[in-house]
């Protein structure tokens, strides 16, 4: 670009003007590509390199030593914390993710069909968690979930006197943050709480595209609310289900902030709340092992790609009926 704007002999002048104008569009879109190149693409490529080396970053580039796939084999065969954290990640992803959609879908349908004036307020209340600071809200949740005075335990205790329901309530106050049995439930609830409104809003947006006369015709024909949902709405919503579930999978499998704050950055007792992304962070910045951390990152990426692929087979555009 700079060579073109440099002064040139007179006869060329019209052509030069022509050229700079043709370059304008590229100049306009260049910020994205420059920034992506430096802060997006390069880190990705460099992390491939890092994952194949053993390196103490403090010792400079000379200390980089090629180790092939050793980092990967180490992570896969001997890093017990990685296995545990991958298990935690999948557990939380499922327990926090599945109810989100099982509730968001009918909720969106119900809001779409049966709500008039109050719709925006209700949608807003469900959506609010999605836009608030994870850190702030996770801190508030650690207060709500605390053992001796937490609101959650108080509510559970109040339910104890109710017949039937009381029987399944815990005998003592639950130590959500420190009892490994409960840590994942706590994290999953917070993740569920944060994203159920987002999914509802996605499904609501997709419902706008379902033709109203189709639903009305079905109603006149005597199809119940449930049948209309099952046979008209659900098939039409399938593309959005695929999209929303994909977002949930990708988001939940790289979960970091919620478990990090809720367990005080430690992963909780017995690391019960440590996710794979947290483990990667731990290996990189606490143990200073950038090579293994990069290998873990790519292994996690493979897991995400595999689960997304599975979802593609289940909900993707395979069947057209």
């Amino acid at each position: 670009m700079s060579s073109l704007s440099a002064s040139s002999p007179k006869p060329v002048a019209p052509k030069r003007r022509f050229d700079t104008r043709r370059l304008m569009p590229y100049l306009f879109i260049s910020p994205f590509f420059i920034l992506f190149g430096i802060f997006g693409l390069f880190p990705l490529l460099f992390s491939v390199v890092l994952s194949l080396h053993s390196w103490d970053p403090a010792a400079g580039f000379e200390a980089m030593r090629w180790v092939g796939f050793d980092n990967y084999t180490f992570a896969l065969t001997r890093d017990d914390w990685l296995h545990a954290s991958l298990y935690n990640t999948l557990w939380i992803a499922l327990v926090a993710g599945l109810p989100q959609h099982l509730i968001a879908l009918p909720l969106a349908y119900f809001l779409h069909t049966c709500f008039g004036r109050w719709r925006n307020l209700v949608v807003g209340l469900y959506f609010l968690p999605f836009i608030t600071s994870t850190v702030a809200i996770a801190l508030v949740f650690s207060a709500l979930f605390s053992k001796d005075f937490g609101v959650v335990n108080s509510i559970l205790a109040a339910f104890k006197s109710v017949p039937l329901v009381g029987a399944i309530m815990p005998e003592q106050s639950v130590d959500w943050a420190n009892n490994p049995q409960y840590t994942k439930w706590m994290i999953s609830f917070v993740v569920f709480w944060r994203f159920v409104g987002w999914n509802t809003v996605l499904y609501l947006a997709a419902l706008q595209t379902v033709p109203r006369d189709l639903l009305e015709a079905a109603e006149i024909d005597g199809a119940s609310l449930w049948r209309r949902f099952r046979y008209i709405v659900l098939p039409l919503l399938k593309p959005m289900m695929f999209f929303a579930v994909t977002l949930t999978i990708i988001g939940n499998l790289q979960l970091f902030e919620e478990p990090f704050i809720l367990t005080g950055g430690t992963g909780g007792t017995d690391q019960a709340g440590k996710t794979a992304a947290m483990h990667m962070y731990w290996v990189a910045f606490r143990e200073g092992d950038f090579g293994t951390a990069s290998a873990i990152a790519w292994l996690l990426f493979i897991v995400i790609a595999a689960v997304t692929g599975l979802n593609n087979r289940l909900l993707g555009q395979r069947e057209n009926d």
Binding site: P99, I103, L107, V152, L204, W226, M240, G265
Partner: protein, 300 residues
């Protein structure tokens, strides 16, 4: 709580075919009322943490630690703010940094994304469609994989502990370009651009004088989304900042954890302050915000 909300499934299964004939209107009414109640309780559960955040912010630690926990506002807000500022001496500065980072990121995104969006709609150039697809494809790349090298890059640039380490990498988002392209394509007529070009305007003048004044609504939506994302960002500051006086708000709040007895009142006061700007934005324009955030998903 989770069990309560899972009953929200109920509204979808109100009728069995056998009883549909005679009792249909009444049954629908009853089941719908039940569904309304469940949705209402769910909305309360969604809002409860915010409510308790504000309530706890006005109670002393002993008040919060009592059983049952306080349900209405107290008078210890000043005391909590004092504790907050003792634990986080730079808290007001942290808020200032958060505003600085979020506003700078937002301004840069608005400019760069709208400029690129304009180019993709109204300018002709070789590879236009391909380059746009490339930008969209970057959304599929796993960002967390680049976390470790990004820290190295920031070190090489000498950007550790610097706020530009947050602002520059996020200055031009792919989703923003997508949004702008959609909006400019649907709201800035081609004829307007053509006539301006005949009048001798160059591409940038057209963008600055004609396109920019027409895309206010989309700029507002993109601005809010970018601001919120930047304001809530936790991982990047966690990787970059070392000194407390440089922290943004989320990182500062996290520093309240695990130092002796947890000051719950102060934590909730700090969290409330961190959430307030977002609540204000949401109250002003939740509809546009929701529409903007889902626009990308619907059009795919």
């Amino acid at each position: 709580m989770a069990t309560t909300s899972s009953h929200a499934l109920a509204p979808t299964a109100p009728l069995t075919p056998s009883n549909r004939g005679w009792s249909k209107p009444k049954r629908i009414e009853a089941s719908q009322w039940l569904a309304y109640v469940i949705v209402g309780v769910g909305a309360l559960i969604m809002f409860a943490p915010f409510y308790f955040m504000f309530v706890f912010a006005t109670h002393t630690n002993t008040g919060i630690l009592s059983v049952p926990p306080p349900l209405w506002f107290g008078d210890a807000l000043g005391e909590n703010l004092k504790i907050l500022l003792e634990r986080l001496p730079y808290f007001w500065q942290n808020i200032g940094w958060s505003f600085y980072v979020a506003l700078a990121t937002t301004a840069l995104n608005l400019f760069f994304c709208s400029l690129a969006g304009f180019a993709f709609v109204h300018l002709e150039f070789a590879g236009r469609a391909l380059l746009f697809k490339a930008i969209m494809a970057t959304l599929l790349l796993p960002t967390f994989v680049g976390m470790v090298p990004t820290v190295l890059i920031m070190g090489w640039f000498g950007w550790m502990n610097e706020h530009r380490a947050l602002i520059v990498p996020g200055a031009c988002g792919a989703l923003g370009i997508f949004m702008m392209r959609q909006y400019i394509g649907s709201s800035v007529p081609k004829e307007l651009i053509e006539s301006a070009r005949l009048d001798g305007c160059n591409d940038f003048t057209i963008y600055w004088r004609i396109v920019l004044p027409l895309i206010g609504p989309a700029m507002g939506t993109l601005g809010m989304i970018t601001f919120i994302g930047s304001w809530n960002n936790f991982i990047s500051p966690l990787l970059v900042f070392r000194d407390m006086d440089r922290y943004t708000v989320p990182l500062a709040l996290r520093a309240l954890q695990g130092t002796g007895q947890t000051p719950w009142g102060a934590i909730c006061a700090g969290a409330a302050i961190a959430v307030l700007p977002l609540l204000a934005l949401f109250v002003i324009s939740s509809r546009r915000l929701i529409e903007g955030l889902t626009a990308g998903a619907v059009k795919q």
